[in-house]
């Protein structure tokens, strides 16, 4: 029992359930299955991006360019789909992922090979990628009627009355879970983040891992580029602006240590769910915009305090009484 309480994933889970109940009391409409499933749909992109951001944070870095990457990939395929509406949607999805990966590799190469610090690199590409959207789109939007029908249809597909977006998030969760817990690559990420000096001694090639981590982050930003424009049926220069901060707070709330090497896929997902819940619930209970910001800020702080409390070193039993 003590272990259960100390387990931060469990605490986070309880907070989420507690939060849902609380909001449900204030606004019973919110806990209807259909609105809860809307919350999940709404949070799916956040979950995917938080999980891919987690890979980067694990190795003591951060990818600030994800939202711009998402927006640029999304804009490029939207523009293309208006020109070639007959192409299958799968083509656009793959293309979006490839564009995202390419942008991610650029980050990785700049950091690993050119040795530009990750903050500088991704802060730079945050603006560059965003700027490129103006460049390719001439500052114009792509409106819902300009997309082909097939481009938008997939996103409305439902399975077990849960949305396509949600199932993509589930799929990404499973893939990430296996990747980080059951592959050498994933485990080496933990060791590299935990102790970069020691990782050298066991032959982990840091540059390779940095580039791969940023490529993965880019790949999922690209994927979310499609998901985002399809979901909101609009591509503009403004989409997902500032979303990288939401993603990073989801990771931090989920217990991914910015010091590297610490964090679980489950924790990260719960962190994203909590942030998603807050974003959806606060408007539902009629809290003013200002208070919404303050409350989300407070919840993030509390989560971080819980993190440090549960991470303290425990004494090993020496004497049996």
């Amino acid at each position: 029992m003590m272990n259960l309480i100390k387990n931060r994933d469990f605490i986070l889970f309880s907070i989420i359930i507690f939060g849902v109940i609380l909001v449900g009391i204030a606004n019973p409409y919110f806990v209807k299955p259909s609105s809860l499933s809307d919350v999940l749909t709404d949070t799916s992109i956040l979950i995917i991006l938080a999980l891919s951001q987690m890979i980067v944070i694990l190795i003591r870095a951060i990818d600030l360019s994800v939202a711009s990457n998402l927006a640029l990939s999304g804009m490029l395929i939207s523009l293309l789909s208006t020109v070639y509406p007959e192409l299958p949607v799968v083509f656009f999805i793959i293309l979006s992922c490839l564009i995202g990966t390419f942008l991610g590799v650029l980050n990785g190469v700049s950091i690993a090979i050119l040795k530009v610090p990750f903050i500088v690199t991704t802060l730079g590409t945050l603006s560059i990628y965003r700027g490129l959207i103006y460049f390719v789109s001439d500052g114009k939007q792509v409106y819902s009627h300009e997309f082909s029908e097939s481009f938008l249809a997939l996103i409305h597909y439902k399975f077990l009355s849960l949305s396509f977006l949600f199932w993509v998030a589930v799929f990404v969760f499973v893939v990430m879970y296996i990747l980080l817990n059951h592959t050498r690559f994933g485990r080496n990420l933990y060791s590299l983040g935990g102790n970069p000096d020691a990782a050298k001694y066991i032959g982990i090639n840091e540059n390779k891992y940095v580039i791969l981590a940023y490529s993965i982050s880019g790949f999922f930003a690209g994927l979310c580029g499609y998901l985002w424009v399809a979901r909101y049926s609009v591509a503009s220069t403004q989409i997902a602006i500032g979303f990288e901060l939401t993603v990073i707070s989801a990771c931090v709330v989920g217990g991914i240590s910015v010091m590297g090497g610490v964090g679980t896929v489950v924790g990260c997902t719960l962190g994203a769910l909590l942030i998603g819940l807050i974003r959806n619930a606060l408007p539902a209970v009629d809290i003013s915009q200002f208070w919404q910001l303050a409350i989300s800020g407070a919840i993030i702080l509390i989560a971080i305090i819980i993190n440090t409390k549960t991470e303290q070193r425990k004494d090993k039993t020496i004497m049996v009484e």
């Binding site: 817990n181 050498r184 485990r187 060791s191 001694y201 032959g203 004494d315 020496i318 004497m319 009484e321």
Partner: protein, 498 residues
């Protein structure tokens, strides 16, 4: 019969230079199959540098490496492992947040046929490896929850898991107590039986004479002598290493012990220790002996205020002390030299001089201005006394050899001239000559009125230096013995709970 034409490993004219430092100069080294080869030398002689070259961490600036007669270039640690070389490094290369099991297999996870990590087999193998070392460590424990010695055991297990032909052990027995060392010997001898070659680095010459077959001595990065162990003896080895004959054993200065100055009554900390009662008299050296993990360090850490105790009292000069943080202890003249020196004791990116003077900045300054001359005087005096090998004064502490880093931290705490000095494994990892220098220094300190508590896992050190010894076992004090009235057998027996 297979006749081995080649040496297992041969280094020819290997040199390695760091800015301003010749760490290795044209060193030849050959290792036979089925042999335990001691690599000896004073702190800073170049032993670890040689090991790192073999492990692909450093590239040699000159010379070549031959394995089974074939020239090899070891460009990185993976290449080294693939060539069948595995090593325990002197500094901890552990991952605090990962489990014991994963630390053992890191970089080399067992995978199933579908290329996923096979946690079950790794756990089984871990239990087996730790069982061989009779270590009470669970596979799923996190490294950060282990003691220094337990981490050491995990490192040893890691080097064994690779099933390498050449196993390099850079001071594997530092910070282990006799029982664990004996188990390690069994393992090393087993490795030899399996036709492997072992490079064994140690400053404990008795153990070198006991288990090694051959030796190579380095001094200031140069090869001095390589021969069979059976052709040498301890004094000769010391002479090779130091470059001149030195008397190794400084007999302990006789000092007249005065009245009680410090005492601990009924100290108790849940799951850690209980009924801790002892006193320390002025000018006394009180030893603490016990197996790894018997609670010695925990007791000292609570006395020093790093951890809190649940019950009991600490008295100093007949006054009850209320120590809640290390600063309180230091203010009262009680100083603790932690065994975790690299982490807690040193600032790697500061110069050696600044490290030594860090704790006495206040004393060496006047009107807030640091007295540079006094600073340098103090540092150079201690540097000379402890034989710290620095190439230049501004050398960063992190580029010192392992033993010289230790000595730097010792120098730092000794400069504070406290009334009660608690030393945790003070001579771990330092060479014979410096060890006797530290011992001599301890003698001078008690003579000048200081009282010392010394935790040590080395019996000869306890017997040679201490007036009384407290023997601990699983968080309890088994007995407190007058050293002049006891034997090593009695102490070892008590320490193992008999």
């Amino acid at each position: 019969m297979v006749v081995c034409l080649f040496m297992k490993l041969e280094l020819k004219k290997i040199s390695k230079f760091f800015p301003g430092i010749k760490a290795l100069q044209s060193v030849d080294f050959s290792l036979k199959q089925n042999s335990i080869h001691a690599l000896l030398g004073e702190n800073g002689a170049g032993k670890s540098t040689l090991v790192k070259i073999l492990c692909g961490v450093y590239q040699p600036d000159e010379g070549s490496i031959h394995l089974d007669g074939q020239k090899e270039v070891i460009q990185d640690p993976t290449a080294s492992l693939n060539l069948g070389i595995s090593a325990i490094h002197q500094e901890s290369v552990m991952f605090d947040e990962l489990s014991v099991m994963e630390n053992i297999f890191i970089g080399n996870h067992i995978t199933k046929s579908n290329r996923l990590v096979d946690w079950t087999s790794m756990e089984k193998k871990t239990i087996e490896l730790l069982g061989n070392l009779e270590a009470d460590i669970k596979p799923e424990e996190k490294i950060k929850d282990l003691s220094i010695a337990q981490r050491h055991i995990v490192q040893i297990s890691r080097s064994l898991v690779h099933d390498a032909d050449i196993v390099i052990m850079d001071e594997p027995t530092a910070s282990l107590s006799q029982k664990e060392i004996d188990e390690l010997y069994v393992i090393i001898r087993n490795l030899k039986k399996q036709n492997k070659s072992i490079i064994f680095i140690s400053h404990k010459l008795d153990e070198v004479l006991e288990i090694c077959d051959e030796f190579t001595v380095l001094r200031d990065g140069e090869l001095i002598k390589t021969d069979l162990i059976s052709n040498t003896n301890k004094d000769q080895l010391v002479t090779y290493m130091a470059g001149r004959e030195i008397s190794q054993i400084f007999p302990k200065k006789h000092v007249k012990i005065e009245d009680e100055i410090f005492s601990v009554k009924n100290l108790y900390k849940k799951t850690q220790f209980k009924n801790i009662n002892f006193n320390l008299r002025k000018k006394e050296i009180l030893g603490f002996y016990g197996l790894v993990g018997s609670g010695r360090t925990e007791v000292m850490k609570t006395i020093f205020g790093i951890n809190k105790f649940d019950e009991g009292e600490v008295n100093f000069k007949n006054k009850n002390l209320n120590i809640t943080k290390p600063k309180d202890a230091i203010k009262n003249g009680i100083v603790y030299l932690s065994e975790e020196r690299q982490n807690l004791g040193m600032t790697g990116l500061m110069s050696v001089k600044d490290n030594i003077n860090m704790a006495i900045m206040d004393k060496n300054s006047q009107y807030l201005i640091l007295d540079k001359l006094k600073d340098l005087q103090n540092a150079s005096e201690l540097q000379e006394k402890l034989n710290i090998k620095v190439s230049y004064w501004s050398q960063l502490a992190q580029s010192l050899s392992g033993g010289n880093q230790q000595k730097t931290v010792i120098a730092k705490w000794l400069s504070t001239k406290p009334e009660v000095l608690i030393l945790d494994e003070p001579t771990k990892g330092i060479d014979v000559r410096s060890k006797s220098a530290v011992h001599e220094f301890m003698g001078e300190l008690v003579d000048s009125g200081m009282s010392i508590i010394m935790i040590s896992s080395e019996l000869p050190e306890i017997l040679g230096m201490c007036d009384r010894v407290v023997v601990m076992y699983k968080g309890l004090i088994k007995n407190i013995l007058e050293v002049s009235n006891t034997s090593s057998e009695e102490i070892v027996k008590l320490a193992s709970g008999e």
